[in-house]
Symmetry: C2
Subunit: 327 residues, 2 copies
């Protein structure tokens, strides 16, 4: 069974490397569904990764991110490069608008084999989504796309987690949404390498630029001072300058010997997250028995406290001692 | 040393139970700084918890949450109850506005010993903040506050995590901020038990009410249909109705035998999060040696892949096998 899966994985890997887009789509689905076959394929392909420039885009809904990504695809294509887009929507099943928008966009680029677009939404946990996005980006990297855009809807912590797969993070702002909603959101200023003020033909855009600049002046920037670029996605104005700024960021990272370091740090972090998630599953399983139920009952009855129980679980997991419930 | 800490903890616990507010503040600081003494105190006090009605408030910045909380304090006080407020700001050190607002509010209630207000911000990780808020709420519960309000700035995932400490979650909306920014944010509709449309004297507020209602109609609600309450925090209009709706929610939970279940589920989740965080620290420490560095170097050189390494770390942690680096 495992040998079969490995053989299949080798076939998938070969097909992905040969540029087979149907195989690519299939392996992404395997990764989304956490099938072992998907991860076997990634293992095989891992040595091929590390060539792509991974670009994350985040910003508030209504910022015109989809149109901006569309223009960025156009610009990258006009420079003669292939590009993959991962459009991530971590919002609840209550909404579905972004996915519809992606479908329209996908149709537009359907006849261009140099563009690959994939939408990903939450199927279970947000953590699961972040892991699937991470693995998908690795796969697209191995599949030789020189540019990979990861676009997320919104500015919450989940979006911050997701765009941190990127070498270069672009934070998109727009005039008129109220500044506190946009730029003072948790960690959003810190993660941006390039700031794009979209809809720059609207009144108030210069104020957003000035606000961003003054906030950026507060931060400390050793090797790279994040630029603020103005764009008008509807006309394409400023998009070439945006792509150039993004490329410059990668060059600066490379010259400062930071790119390899950052990528390794990301790899370590992703690995540790997967590992702890796995251990957590183990613990949950291990404690779904009679002894475990007794422990939770004692907690509910306040015969024990959660901190004592945590210690017991910890020691039990480490195999230091067997767990006895206190009375 | 540990015995000393335990003796000190008993003294802290006694002082907190006796209503000593300085002791309360001190133990919260111990919990914030993750000092063992804080957790020893909580262990001692744990049997006293489970009496408070814990109310979470979240919503976009600019929604007038602070003013609304102020009116809620007033209403709860006028009904003759004590109340504690935990004002959480998970945003970056770039901002500090909320904390200033809290100071002003704190001064207003400074002479009323039936009101206790505490601000908490990010000192390190967001996970650390969520844990500190959780422990603080347990402490305030043990300290006999019948109502505990946990207010967060923003609508991101971190805020969602934080308000999930609550029995009843109030989602605050306002007209004029753009509906997609407010209500279609990750998971925000799902977590609300009561929806407050604040600034209900502004034009467009009725539209927000209708939108919320229609979104709520999409969801399935077994025992409780989340109501939408309109408030005007500046005048206090609707605040009494809001408090009544919040109280009704608790009664319904109790009658459906859900309150105890929900609280135990929260306790389990918090315990598992602390435990996995701890195991993660262990693993990181264990792998900060020569062998670990070699493994990361092999990863950087792509001599191994992150999925194989994860498997090795997992087996090593479980004590199944010693870890050899592949060549």
């Amino acid at each position: 069974m495992t040998t079969h899966a490995k053989n299949d994985s080798n076939i998938w890997a070969e097909r992905v490397l040969a540029g087979d887009r149907r195989a690519l789509a299939r392996v992404i689905s395997l990764l989304e569904n956490q099938e072992p076959e998907g991860f076997h394929t990634l293992k095989t392909l891992y040595p091929k990764t590390g060539q792509a420039h991974i670009i994350g885009l985040t910003g508030p809904p209504g910022g015109g991110k989809s149109s901006l990504v569309d223009r960025m695809i156009q610009e990258i294509r006009s420079r003669g490069h292939e590009v993959a887009v991962v459009a991530v929507d971590p919002t609840s099943p209550f909404t579905g608008g972004a996915i519809l928008g992606d479908r329209i966009r996908m149709q537009r680029w359907a006849s261009d084999t140099g563009v690959y677009i994939r939408s990903m939404g939450t199927r279970g946990s947000l953590g699961g989504l972040a892991r699937a996005v991470y693995a998908t980006v690795q796969l697209l990297d191995a599949a030789s796309f020189p540019y990979i855009l990861v676009e997320t809807v919104g500015v919450g912590q989940s979006e911050v987690d997701i765009v941190q797969v990127a070498d270069t993070v672009v934070v998109v702002s727009v005039p008129g949404l109220g500044d506190d909603v946009q730029v003072s959101k948790a960690g959003i200023m810190e993660i941006g390498d390039v700031f794009a003020v979209n809809k720059a033909d609207l009144p108030g855009s210069q104020r957003v630029v000035v606000e961003l600049q003054s906030m950026l002046d507060l931060g400390s920037h050793d090797v790279w001072q994040p630029p603020v670029v103005t764009t008008v996605a509807t006309t394409g104005k400023g998009v070439s300058e945006l792509i150039t700024a993004i490329q410059e960021h990668l060059v600066v990272l490379q010259e400062a010997n930071l790119l390899t370091k950052q990528r390794l740090a990301r790899e370590k972090e992703a690995l540790l997250q997967r590992l702890t998630e796995r251990i957590r599953c183990d613990i949950t399983k291990q404690w779904s028995n009679k002894q475990g139920n007794q422990a939770w009952e004692n907690l509910a009855a306040k015969k024990t406290d959660p901190y004592t129980l945590e210690e017991q679980l910890y020691l039990s997991w480490k195999g230091v001692t067997t767990v006895d419930n206190q009375d």
